[in-house]
Each structure stands twice: as structure tokens, then as C-alpha cells.
């Protein structure tokens, strides 16, 4: 299914699965960020921003569907 195709009820249950997984990973990463900030291990800043970049990539890829830009010509 391309990003332009209407979502069917069956597809939506799959989408709910992906969305739920992504939000759970985002929540876990946020918790890890917080723990790192409290524990202050060596390389704290690098770790925190590596996690922030991972979270941003997840949102852009799965919630914002950035791949739609490249898929249009082939849809």
C-alpha cells in the first residue's frame, strides 16, 4: 500500500500497531533521557542528544510519513 492509498479498516488496525509501538518507544526514550540527566554519566550531553535525534527521526519517519515525498512519482 502506498501512502496515498486510503486506509481500510484492516489497515488501520496495523497502523494502530505501528503508531502504538512508536509512541511506546518515544516514551521509553524520554524516560531514558530523564534518567541520564539525573545520573549524569560521562558523555551525558552526547547521549541525550543522540536520543533526541532518534526520537525526531521516529516522528518524521512514522508519524509525518516523510517518504511520501519520494513516493509520489511512483504511486
Amino acid at each position: 500500500m502506498t501512502e496515498n492509498t486510503p486506509v481500510t479498516k484492516d489497515d488501520r488496525s496495523t497502523g494502530m500497531g505501528i503508531g502504538t509501538k512508536v509512541i511506546l518507544i518515544l516514551a521509553a526514550l524520554t524516560a531514558i533521557e530523564y534518567v541520564i540527566a539525573v545520573a549524569k554519566p560521562p558523555g551525558q550531553i552526547a547521549l541525550i542528544f543522540a536520543i533526541a535525534i532518534t526520537k525526531a527521526v521516529l516522528i518524521v519517519m512514522y508519524f509525518m510519513h516523510v517518504r511520501q515525498i519520494w513516493e509520489e512519482d511512483h504511486a
Binding site: 488501520r12 530523564y34 518524521v60
Partner: protein
């Protein structure tokens, strides 16, 4: 990537071509907005290094971050529901997004109330904090207004269930606001 094609730019472009143009335009807008927020992040580090005010409430920061992430999830579900033609669920998820966005804004307002005493805008950290959270909150409020307009139109059945672009566009903008906060939250709260 969508290529320059005179046919695409005509008023008679097919719905698929118009959708491609709309999406590309929105992504370019988001990219240009990203430059503004990236500049603010640079300013934060060049002025303050990794300093963070101890008075900043870590718990409030964490709570509003989780709320904004949750609102991204409900916005995502609203978009998917609209594409499947389920208007009822679309309205529910848009309302949830609006509610969570309003709670986030209230949380930032509470932070401002506390921050005005602890580190007023005249202090170095205060100026950075109020500028970054203020500009972000302005975008959050803009997003809430856009989603409220889209919700109102979905409720009045202004959009055909096959035309999911208005919902998609407002939701994409909302996700962008969330992505900005993904970087602002650690930059303001978690460094020490």
C-alpha cells in the same frame, strides 16, 4: 522527488499531482521553520554553554513533554482515521489532540509563572528560556487554532471523506511542533 512539470503546475493537475505539490510545499515550509528553531538552539549553547537553571522544575518539564508526545499519537490516529473515511473517529482524535495541546500550553504557562520569579527575562538563562519556550508556545497555539478550524470543518462535513489533505496538513504541522520540542526539552531541562 517531484520534478518540475508544466502540467503539474496547471490548474488542471490531477488530484494526485495537487496532493504531491501540497505535500512538497508543506515540507519546504517545515524546513524553513526548522532553520529558525535550529538558530535558537545555537544561541542557547553559544550564550550559556550547558548551564541550566536549578530552579527549573524537572517534573513539569517531563510531564508536558509526555503530554506533547501523546498528542502526536492522537494526531497520527486522526490522520489515519480520516484516510479510512472514519469521520467519527477523526473528530474524536482531533478533539483529544486539542485537549492535550491545551494542557501542554497550560503547563508552559505554569512554567512561565514560576520562572518569572526564579530567573526573569532580564537574566541570561531567563532570556534564552523565555525566547525558546515563547516561540515554541506560539507555534503550539497556532497549531491548536489550525486543528480547531479543521475539526470544525470535519464536524460540518465540509471535507469529503476522500479529501484527507486538510487533516493531514494540520497533523503534519503538529508533529513538527513536537519534533521541535524533542530538541528544546533536553536543551532547556536536561543539561547540567
Amino acid at each position: 522527488m517531484t520534478t518540475a512539470n508544466p502540467e503539474v503546475h496547471s490548474e488542471h493537475a490531477s488530484p494526485k499531482q495537487r496532493l504531491a505539490i501540497n505535500r512538497l510545499g508543506l515540507w519546504l515550509f517545515i524546513l524553513s521553520e526548522s532553520m529558525l528553531f535550529a538558530g535558537l538552539l545555537m544561541v542557547r549553547f553559544s550564550l550559556l554553554g550547558t548551564y541550566t537553571a536549578e530552579e527549573l522544575s524537572q517534573i513539569t518539564g517531563l510531564i508536558i513533554t509526555v503530554i506533547l508526545l501523546l498528542s502526536s499519537f492522537t494526531a497520527y490516529q486522526a490522520e489515519r482515521s480520516m484516510r479510512s473515511g472514519d469521520v467519527s473517529r477523526t473528530k474524536q482524535y482531533l478533539l483529544l489532540t486539542l485537549g492535550l495541546g491545551a494542557i501542554f500550553t497550560a503547563g508552559v504557562a505554569f512554567e512561565w509563572y514560576e520562572a518569572l520569579e526564579a530567573f526573569p527575562p532580564s537574566t541570561p538563562f531567563g532570556s534564552v528560556f523565555f525566547t525558546m519556550t515563547g516561540l515554541h508556545a506560539f507555534h503550539v497555539i497556532t497549531g491548536l487554532v489550525i486543528i480547531a478550524i479543521v475539526y470544525s470543518r470535519v464536524r460540518r462535513a465540509t471535507y469529503a471523506s476522500s479529501d484527507s489533505w486538510p487533516v493531514e496538513a494540520s497533523v503534519k504541522y503538529w508533529h513538527f511542533v513536537d519534533v521541535v520540542w524533542v530538541f528544546f526539552y533536553p536543551a532547556l531541562y536536561l543539561l547540567n
